[in-house]
């Protein structure tokens, strides 16, 4: 055993005991020390083992470039589950990893008790790491069987639609009814109307009519699920890929939706646990606190103004205040019930916003950036805007036509503007390759007129 793992092996059980004593409730955590190269891949793929796709290669090279330029340092990655799986970088210093251990316990508490996490894990299970690995394995097998090109075509589409799921619906959904009963009798008209008026004519007992139900019955948000179940010609292995991507997305969503709360919570607890950890040498505590202040610093380097908020910082400051004013127990209830939307709207007060010197800004296309009006509501919405709908535009399945054409509609009203047309067309082409029938989408063009985009070469 290396010195690092020796020291951590001593620290971890003590830190866990301390966390329990402080009221944290978490599933066991498996820690693993890994080389930085592996850590970088975990950060890029989002999971330790994940399906192969060229787009990950692209993200990976960016990460490499960033890393070479010294812009990013990865401290820790933890995958919620039972057990949680946490990865520490074996080249980071001992005090950094000691801080990370405490931080991870904060995450573990959060993911076990927060309702969004708990619900997602109830549905997809507590072993996403293993499941993702088995998805990856299955995909390697179909690549062997059907060839890289065909599998890639399916992955191009499924991964492109990754954010288009609907976690308001149950994970395991029933298909829509194919038939439905039309209750109301058709209105009598013409000859029938006069006939019905004749005295002594009993109106014939109306038989309920059964007809083909429209699919989907109402606009459908879960594109991955819909395509997997309604594509006119889809093979079993293709469907499996769609459902695998959907499951992983289901797992990612609470992580995405709770980032500020979750990172803030973990930062609050690492700082508190380290403070209480009398088993650590005092020099260690000082080093840890130095790292802590880097992690929760609002500004990069010695900059004075940031145009991007550091979620660690915002979350940390907010939790500190909530716990100071309302106590740990009510903080825990907030942690259990909210996601970032509720957390920011209900708990980022005027006073906190001013303390942190938060502001809204407007950026023009020519690069000009100006500080905007100081409104708390606008600030809330500006913080949350990139998080709505899993960060993606709202695209729904509107109709499945009799000839198999798939009609999608973009809710440009809610999103405030239309889709980027050329990109959308490319996505429709990904979909059409799997759907194997025409795919059309309604959005707004640059002049805010309705515009149809089609998977086929040119649209009208």
């Amino acid at each position: 055993m290396s010195d690092m793992s020796h020291s951590l092996a001593e620290t971890i059980p003590r830190m866990e005991a301390l966390a329990v004593e402080q009221g944290l409730k978490f599933f066991p955590v498996d820690f693993e020390l890994v080389p930085p190269s592996f850590m970088m891949e975990v950060a890029v793929y989002g999971l330790p083992v994940r399906m192969p796709h060229w787009s990950f290669g692209l993200r990976w090279i960016y990460q490499m470039i960033q890393h070479r330029m010294g812009h990013s340092k990865i401290f820790e990655v933890v995958f919620p589950g039972n057990p949680n799986r946490a990865y520490l970088v074996n080249t980071n210093s001992l005090h950094e990893n000691t801080l990370v251990v405490a931080h991870v316990l904060g995450h573990a508490d959060f993911s076990r008790n927060n309702i969004a996490f708990a619900r997602s894990q109830d549905e997809v299970g507590y072993h996403i790491v293993e499941q993702a690995a088995s998805h990856a394995h299955r995909i390697e097998e179909v690549i062997k069987e059907f060839g890289e090109q065909r599998v890639e075509q399916v992955l191009d589409c499924a991964l492109s639609l990754e954010p288009h799921i609907d976690t308001q619906q149950p994970f395991n959904r029933k298909e829509f009814p194919r038939k439905h009963v039309v209750e109301d009798k058709p209105a009598a008209e013409g000859f029938h109307a006069r006939y019905a008026d004749l005295p002594g004519e009993e109106s014939a007992p109306s038989e309920p009519r059964v007809s083909n139900a429209p699919i989907p019955p109402k606009p459908e948000k879960d594109l991955l699920w819909f395509i997997a179940h309604y594509a006119p010609e889809m093979e079993e292995w293709e469907r499996d890929i769609f459902l695998a991507v959907r499951k992983e997305a289901w797992y990612f969503q609470p992580v995405f939706n709770c980032q500020i709360m979750n990172e803030g919570w973990a930062s609050y607890w690492h700082s508190r646990l380290l403070r209480e950890a009398d088993f650590l040498p005092s020099s260690m505590y000082v080093d840890c606190m130095k790292t802590h202040s880097d992690v929760v610093s609002p500004y990069a380097g010695d900059q004075q103004v940031a145009l991007k908020l550091n979620p660690y910082h915002v979350g940390y400051v907010m939790w500190e205040k909530i716990i100071k004013e309302q106590g740990v127990e009510s903080a825990r209830r907030i942690m259990e019930q909210e996601d970032d939307f509720g957390f920011i709207r209900n708990h980022l007060s005027r006073e906190l916003a001013d303390d942190m010197k938060l502001f809204s800004f407007n950026a023009k296309r020519n690069g000009e950036i100006k500080v905007a009006e100081n409104s708390l509501d606008a600030l809330h919405e500006n913080i949350l805007a990139p998080k709505f709908n899993f960060g993606a535009p709202r695209v729904f399945v509107e109709e499945l036509k009799n000839d198999g054409t798939l009609i999608l509609r973009h809710e440009s009203g809610i999103d405030g503007r239309g889709l980027e047309i050329e990109r959308a067309r490319k996505v429709l082409q990904y979909i059409a390759a799997v759907w194997k029938r025409p795919v059309k989408l309604l959005t707004l063009d640059g002049e805010d007129n309705e515009a149809w985009i089609s998977s086929e070469a040119e649209s009208s």
Binding site: M4, V44, N90, F359, G367
Partner: protein, 392 residues
């Protein structure tokens, strides 16, 4: 508590030490870029940095990263965000750039799409694409001089094979993979790990060819003209190279006199004064007669000039070309200039027209900018293929 030390343990290596998924997917990305680049052959041919060293048969092409498309909202003219720091309403945090009203701010824009990198392509690979693109038949060398010889080339691996073809490196790799997957196996190398090189038989023409390049280096042939000539020569040579196992090249530069040069110096040579084409054609004929047995060699000649020639050299040039033509499988003429208004209506252009009228395999191509390189190369390959089909 559970702590696993994945980096230091020497008892067993971890699977993630054996390969990098990032690298794998990055290489796949690059493969896709190559496929995408293929659709831009003309630009690639025109813009590639052509290397003069014949042994270095690659070209470098700048390419963009691919984008994995997702639904995104249209860029709006104004976007809002949240920031932090000492700033009050109305402060300008960053000045607009007046030069680019519709441009993208730093850090914004298309992000991933904006990066460029350089991919190296083998000229053979590009030529394969060209051949497919132009739907060319595989060219037939001159009859009577081709003796096909079977050659064995290494191609892939098999689990069985002759001991002498055992690939130790591959075998060790398989053994390591297996021992990592099943750590407790007693055998260091099992039969299943063995990998043998496979041999495949390829038919190789063992014909010879000589390619003669004539370049006018008179004062009117400036940098621009030479660059066009050089690109054309390069790709023409690569195309011919595909068909022959052995190629000789001859480089002749001329103004009013002609001299033979080495390839390295060839494009640097500069002459003075006017142009006498006949001198180059005569030197070419002499070299062919003396050094290259016509029954053993397929001969190609390419002449690059701006088309100007002393009118008093007209008859002599015509006569030299007439003597030279029967010795050649193909005579190509690249007219390089700054504007294509004359379009081969020049002294030398007319010489080549005569040649074509007399039924000699030949082709004339006019190049005045980068965009002309692709059509010229295409026309040359197509002409030559047509010629070859007539021959056979």
């Amino acid at each position: 508590m559970f702590l696993q030390d994945g980096g230091q343990g020497n008892s067993h290596k971890h699977w993630y030490d054996l390969f990098s998924r990032g690298t794998r997917d990055w290489l796949r990305h690059n493969e896709k870029v190559r496929e995408a680049v293929r659709e831009h052959l003309p630009e690639m041919i025109a813009k590639s940095d052509v290397l003069s060293k014949p042994e270095n048969r690659t070209v470098q092409v700048p390419v963009k990263f691919l984008e994995h498309y997702r639904f995104t909202l249209r860029n709006s003219d104004e976007q809002s965000g949240a920031g932090q720091g000492k700033a009050k309403q109305g402060d300008t945090l960053r000045q607009g750039k007046p030069g680019q009203p519709g441009g993208q701010g730093e850090g914004g824009g298309d992000g991933e799409g904006a990066f460029q990198f350089v991919l190296e392509f083998k000229t053979d690979e590009i030529l394969d694409w060209l051949w497919e693109e132009l739907k060319l038949p595989n060219l037939q060398p001159k009859e009577g001089s081709n003796v096909d010889v079977d050659e064995y080339v290494r191609e892939g691996w098999d689990k069985r094979g002759a001991r002498s073809r055992l690939d130790r490196r591959r075998t060790m790799k398989e053994a390591i993979k297996r021992r990592t997957a099943i750590p407790d196996t007693p055998v260091p190398i099992s039969n299943d790990d063995l990998r043998f090189r496979q041999l495949a038989r390829k038919r190789q023409p063992t014909t010879n060819a000589v390619v003669i390049f004539l370049l006018d280096v008179s004062s009117s042939m400036d940098e621009h003209c030479r660059k066009l000539a050089k690109s054309f020569f390069f790709w023409a040579l690569q195309g011919i190279r595909r068909q022959f196992s052995h190629i000789d090249t001859v480089f002749i530069a001329h103004s009013v006199e002609a001299f033979e040069f080495e390839e390295e110096e060839f494009f640097q040579v500069s002459g003075q004064g006017g142009t006498k084409s006949s001198t180059a054609l005569e030197l070419a004929e002499k070299i062919l007669q003396e050094r290259f047995d016509n029954s053993q060699y397929n001969s190609y000649l390419f002449y690059a000039t701006d088309g100007e020639n002393f009118s008093n050299d007209r008859e002599q040039s015509s006569a030299s070309l007439a003597r030279l033509a029967p010795l050649l499988n193909f005579a190509g003429y690249a007219e390089v200039s700054h504007s294509n208004t004359r379009r081969l209506n020049t002294e030398v252009g007319r010489l080549w027209q005569q040649l074509a009228d007399n039924g000699h395999p030949s082709g004339s191509y006019s190049l005045s900018n980068d965009n002309d390189i692709w059509p010229a190369i295409k026309a040359f390959f197509t002409d030559q293929a047509a010629q070859q089909q007539v021959d056979v």
